[in-house]
């Protein structure tokens, strides 16, 4: 049975979380302040931590950092009262995997718990590293380099590049890109794809004589492994 540590200073909230998760078949331990949480974690083993940010004695972010320091793999779900605008993604910096904003649906919580436990269970699937004419893509680190120079891409630009590289030498239409890179009912205009392709060209091709990202006019785009 999976063991979950719930760190929440409000007794009633932590009670209802624990009750809900126990019903879903997990074993729960409850800690009410930051120091107790760290102590619990040191003495027992857990499979997942649900952690409130605002805690007495030691705040949730510090607890998160401590737990992450001891266990690099354990999923940590943060609960926050309000997306604090000053600590931009501080929770993620401290190593949290995801967060929920109060008040949240208990079902949403258990769904996330399930996903993270499953993900932690599976041996991490290491996708292949791509290497095309000096362009190096490491999907694990989301790291792109060309000729050993790091290229900074936004998530959207990265997923566009990854899709093109996965399907290298095949001409891909704007329509196919739109369908695969954006949600089903999140339409994008052909213009939008062009703008992103243009950004990508500026970042990966502009400073190099060997152009990788090519256009087949009227059809679409492709990554070419052969030097044209």
């Amino acid at each position: 049975m999976k063991r979950i540590l719930i760190v929440e200073d409000d007794d009633r909230l932590s009670g209802s979380i624990a009750e809900h998760l126990q019903k879903e078949g997990y074993r729960c331990e409850r800690a009410y302040d930051g120091q107790a949480a760290v102590k619990f974690f040191a003495n027992q083993s857990f499979d997942l931590v649900v952690l409130d940010i605002n805690l007495p004695r030691l705040n949730g972010l510090d607890v998160c950092g401590e737990i992450r320091g001891k266990n690099a793999r354990i999923p940590i779900l943060m609960i926050t009262a309000f997306g604090d605008i000053d600590s931009k993604m501080e929770a993620f910096d401290q190593g949290a995997d995801d967060y929920l904003v109060k008040p949240f649906h208990l079902k949403e919580l258990s769904a996330k718990v399930k996903i993270f436990l499953k993900r932690a269970e599976q041996a991490p699937l290491l996708p292949d590293v791509y290497d095309i004419a000096g362009l190096h893509i490491d999907p694990n680190k989301k790291l792109v380099t060309r000729e050993n120079r790091e290229i900074h891409l936004t998530p959207k630009e990265y997923s566009l590049l990854e899709y093109l590289v996965k399907n290298k030498n095949r001409v891909i239409s704007k329509d196919e890109l739109a369908r695969n890179l954006w949600d089903d009912d999140y339409g994008v205009t052909p213009n939008t794809i062009e703008v992103y392709i243009n950004f990508l060209r500026n970042k990966i091709d502009r400073d190099f004589s060997h152009k990788l990202l090519l256009t087949k006019p009227g059809f679409g785009y492709y990554i070419s492994t052969e030097k044209v």
Binding site: H20, N54, F82, D86, P103, T154, G187, N191, E194, N202
Partner: protein, 451 residues
């Protein structure tokens, strides 16, 4: 003009005043001394000549001239004129060039007193009255004090040189000295400049010399600490308030959900529970909005980074769609955008997200259809994001006021704070938000300066 330059000029001015006074005094004293001495010499010369004329009866004027010219003390451009009691010229040391004189002048010297003066040629002239028994002469003697004048000129050059050299020296040395004096102030200034709202805790370095500047640095640091504390207080207020207000809401929602999923609840009660859950979420959204407004209206600095509006929009759309799955969003990046810099703005990511989510939620709640079109285009120094959705009629001007609600929308969730928050967030990044209504479409245009 900065203090260093002002002080240097002041120093140089003071020095010039003092040095000029001293040197002028020396020069003028020497000049007077030379003149007195020269007059005395001329006087002696006059007496010698007149005595020779008076007592050596046999002396011939020509012989006297020869004697005059060959005295050891012969002076440059020397001229001697002697007048008898009838004011007649009885002797002139040279034939042609003479000293300009008038009978009145001779008479004055004879009856009143000896005269010392400089004539029109610049020659110094001595007029003396010689009286001895039956002899009654007036002598005019003149000469040019070649050596004295040359010494005086030499002194003048020296004085001017000293003045110039002294000025340059004092200007340079006082500038270096003042720069040295100002060095700690400049350092303090630089370390103060480095401090901004993001590193309030990096205090100014104090040297522990226990001087005035250290005192200043210490006081400055204390002020920083107070400022930091005030900012922290504001931040923790928002943090604590949201925690205290929203934890009970989370508890209520948890209990309601438990009730909702329990098997022995009649279906009509379930509908009530469901609407209660919606109310709880509405309350939570209101708390968020109020705290956000409070935070925006305080002077507490907001942490800003460079962010891509298209990325923030993507995240916002997917978050809003999880609440409003029916919303259809179409994104259009205009071809006027050629570089990612045109999409990059300096803002706080949470605030931008809150802003976009408010606009998206508005469209989802109030649109006539479920379609929302977002267009991003580059307009000069700004990036413009247009949110267009179908609407029945034009909205009034006061939609950006807090707690504005459409008369027909009261049955829908919402607090009326959304657009007010949007306009304040956009104002905090030096942008503007405008509303227009065209052909049955509401369009909100957010315009923010890009990098």
């Amino acid at each position: 003009m900065n203090y260093k330059l002002r002080l240097t000029l002041l120093f140089v001015g003071l020095f010039l005043l003092v040095l000029t006074s001293i040197l002028s005094f020396i020069y003028l004293s020497y000049s007077n001394f030379r003149r007195d001495e020269f007059f005395e010499r001329l006087r002696q010369k006059s007496f010698t000549t007149v005595r020779l004329l008076a007592y050596v009866k046999e002396i011939d004027n020509e012989v006297l001239k020869v004697i005059d010219r060959n005295t050891i003390n012969e002076m440059y451009d020397e001229k001697v004129l002697i007048f008898n009691e009838k004011n007649e010229l009885v002797y002139s040391s040279i034939d042609d060039e003479t000293i300009p004189y008038s009978t009145r002048l001779i008479e004055e010297i004879r009856t009143k007193q000896d005269r010392f003066y400089v004539d029109d040629d610049g020659d110094e002239v001595v007029g003396v009255h010689y009286r001895d028994g039956e002899h009654d002469y007036v002598v005019l003697a003149s000469a040019y004090d070649r050596y004295g004048i040359s010494k005086l000129q030499n002194l003048r050059n020296l004085v001017l040189g000293a003045l110039l050299a002294g000025t340059i020296l004092i200007a340079a040395s006082s500038y270096f000295y003042i720069r040295q004096v100002f060095k700690p102030i400049d350092q303090l200034n630089r370390s103060i400049q480095r401090i901004n709202e993001n590193n309030l805790r990096e205090f100014v370095k104090v040297d522990k010399n226990k001087d005035e500047l250290d005192e200043l640095a210490n006081n400055y640091n204390q002020m920083l600490a107070r400022l930091y504390k005030a900012f922290e207080l504001q931040r923790s207020f928002v943090r604590n308030a949201s925690h205290e207000l929203k934890t009970p809401l989370a508890v209520i929602q948890g209990k309601l959900e438990k009730l909702f999923s329990s098997d022995n609840v009649p279906s009509q009660h379930r509908a009530i529970v469901e609407s209660l859950i919606e109310d709880v979420q509405g309350q939570a959204a209101l708390v968020d909005s109020l705290l956000l407004l409070q935070r925006l209206q305080t002077e507490v600095p907001i942490n800003k980074t460079n962010l891509r509006v298209d990325e923030v929009l993507d995240i916002s759309v997917s978050e809003v769609k999880s609440t409003f799955p029916k919303l259809n969003v179409e994104m259009d990046l205009d071809s006027s955008i050629t570089s990612d810099k045109q999409l990059t703005v300096r803002a706080n990511v949470m605030l931008m997200k809150a802003c976009f989510k408010n606009l998206l939620t508005n469209a989802a709640l109030y649109s006539e259809s479920n379609d929302l079109r977002i267009k991003i285009l580059s307009a000069g120094p700004n990036v413009s994001i247009l949110f267009s959705n179908q609407g029945r009629e034009e909205l009034p001007n006061d939609i950006f006021e807090p707690f504005y609600r459409q008369p027909t929308s009261h049955e829908k969730p919402g607090s009326g704070l959304g657009l007010s928050i949007v306009s304040q967030i956009i104002a905090s990044v030096a942008g503007r938000v405008t509303y227009s209504y065209n052909d049955g479409y509401h369009t909100f245009e957010v315009s923010i300066p890009h990098l």
